[in-house]
């Protein structure tokens, strides 16, 4: 178990080191997230004012879209110079590589989400910080669910043709339940009288999804990546 976590941590450190040199993924994903929020807010404007109750949906759609962008880049780097082959040939538990990639992605998305939440609060006047910890819980659980499936699919597709278009095609149907739970929970939180019971319900559903998806992903990563 200890070795497993050590390997995962090594993968995270490697990705962080590579990323810190160019910061390419961070800036492009961040910019894309901000653009998405702006485009949606323009789309949902009536008489110069943003539509009521659109904040939760726009928040999560921005996360989904920028998450997909980050995912498609996550394993793209490994394609060059057969880095992926090298990674897979290492005498380590393959699921540890998956976990390392997942954690790296979650760190990136955490930064992106912090910016998106601030932007949505600013643009929509949505009281997202009123129950800050509940929001953090929902975002964490939802992002873990989304990213766990995404990392698996992105790794699966890295050697497939049409991978750029197939990733969203495969990813969105499977993660729609996670997104629905996230949106519904956040909406219950930001409505004029916050319904914490509903938020708790959706959070518990997210726990279920995360558990099932993470377990499946860890279990299937090895056979799927084996030639």
């Amino acid at each position: 178990m200890r070795r497993f976590l050590q390997v995962a941590w090594l993968v995270v450190r490697k990705d962080l080191r590579v990323e810190s040199r160019s910061k390419e993924m961070l800036f492009t994903t961040l910019f894309f997230a901000i653009s998405s929020v702006l485009v949606f807010s323009f789309g949902f404007v009536r008489a110069g004012q943003a539509v009521e109750g659109a904040a939760a949906g726009i928040l999560w759609i921005a996360i989904a879209f920028s998450g997909t962008l980050a995912l498609s880049r996550a394993f793209e780097r490994e394609r060059y110079h057969d880095a992926l082959q090298g990674l897979l040939l290492a005498p380590v538990d393959r699921p540890a590589i998956y976990l390392g990639k997942l954690i790296g992605l979650l760190l990136l998305l955490a930064v992106v989400e912090a910016v998106v939440v601030a932007l949505v609060t600013f643009l929509f006047g949505a009281p997202l910080f009123r129950h800050g910890w509940w929001l953090v819980l929902l975002l964490s659980l939802g992002t873990v669910g989304f990213a766990s499936v995404g990392t698996l699919f992105s790794a699966m597709l890295v050697r497939t043709r049409s991978r750029a278009v197939l990733l969203p095609v495969l990813l969105y149907p499977v993660t729609i339940p996670v997104l629905i739970a996230g949106v519904s929970g956040t909406a219950a939180l930001v409505q004029p009288e916050p319904d914490l019971a509903m938020t708790r319900l959706w959070a518990s559903l997210l726990v279920f999804f995360d558990t099932v998806f993470l377990t499946l992903a860890l279990w299937t990563f090895e056979p799927v990546m084996t030639e």
Partner: protein, 114 residues
């Protein structure tokens, strides 16, 4: 019998290896269930609609209620039949073309052998 045992054994080993997350999984599921149980009582908020808890039989219904539903009913059954038969037909067509191609390639291979 041995093969089945071997299959079961190695599958079980695979499951056990994958089940290093089993304890975490069970804990998370238990936490989720507790949250779910405490967040219950949504029933009161939702309206009850037609025949949710059981179908209740009835005798003949008044004629003015029958006609609008009949086209829908007929359409529903027609759609099911159409999809089933249509799908079967597509399989038949694909199977036919593959078997034709198979025969042709086999003939080519057979013809090439001296």
């Amino acid at each position: 019998m041995e093969r089945i045992e071997g299959l079961v054994g190695s599958t079980a080993a695979g499951v056990w290896r994958g089940g290093c997350c089993a304890a975490v999984t069970v804990t998370l599921l238990a936490v989720g269930m507790m949250l779910l149980a405490s967040g219950g009582g949504l029933d009161a908020a939702q309206p009850t609609e037609a025949a949710q808890d059981g179908f209740v039989p009835m005798g003949d219904i008044p004629p003015e209620d029958q006609l609008p539903a009949a086209p829908l009913l007929v359409a529903a059954y027609a759609v099911v039949w159409a999809i089933a038969i249509g799908y079967l037909w597509t399989i038949w067509r694909r199977l036919g073309s593959v078997e034709r191609e198979l025969a042709e390639v086999a003939r080519r291979v057979g013809g090439r052998e001296p």
